[in-house]
Symmetry: C2
Subunit: 145 residues, 2 copies
């Protein structure tokens, strides 16, 4: 994965460039997302921060996650079941594999991922902006139970 400190620095730079203030609450959200592996949701980010920052408000987590998303620094993963998870490491479209049971989300390597986007654009006349490719199933841990 991307080096967390590098990610943190680059996000802080983006925040300053867009003249946003660097509050302790904001920095806490940035740090968690830059270090995250498991694609956390807002509630998980909130709980993690609250343990050493008890005055943190859930609304503030929502606001900062929204801001980082609008700056293009994190990727929002809205899933078919309505849940939202966030990827602070690779803020660009990439495939995901989701366990239907334990809800873990992983980033697979996919060699055969051709440039389907250009084929779609040619066939439909759309100007394609982004895409989603998600596989749903059961992980090995959940199958062994």
């Amino acid at each position: 994965m991307a080096d967390p400190n590098q990610r943190i620095d680059s996000i802080i730079k983006k925040l300053k460039e867009s003249s946003h203030k660097l509050t302790p609450q904001r920095l806490a959200v940035v740090k968690i997302l830059a270090h995250s592996q498991g694609h956390p949701n807002v509630e998980q980010i909130y709980e993690q921060i609250k343990s050493d920052f008890p005055t943190m408000s859930l609304a503030t987590v929502y606001r900062n996650v929204m801001l980082l998303k609008s700056l293009g620094e994190i990727l929002e993963l809205g899933f078919p079941d309505g849940s939202n998870r966030y990827d602070g490491n690779k803020p660009y479209p990439h495939p995901h594999v989701i366990c239907i049971k334990c809800k873990k989300v992983i980033d697979p390597d996919l060699d055969s991922l051709k440039d389907m986007t250009s084929e779609i654009a040619a066939e439909t006349g759309f100007k394609i902006v982004t895409h989603r490719l998600d596989f749903f199933g059961f992980c090995q841990d959940c199958m062994n139970q």
Copy 2:
């Protein structure tokens, strides 16, 4: 697309097999989904039925759409923005192209759609059950404005 009458017959058969009653309300929902091209949402199904069936309840549309989904006769498309649309013609995973502006959803032909599922299963150890492949952009109509 699949022949609507064929779809209606096959859905009715499924309903009878699973001993569900065939009410006028239920049949209206089935007919609209079997004839639909544009991947309607629940509200659109409801509005369309209400015009010649004014006592129709929104809750009944939700219930029947849910039932048809659980019988595997329609495909629910939950999108990242939280919206839900339904495909009554091809109730199996297939790619979609979505216009971000006018929200139209079309089913493209995609030659290069390899069997990525087996590659993912091999790499991750997951037992893959389903997948989603969606492209988001602007359709030609919306670009010409």
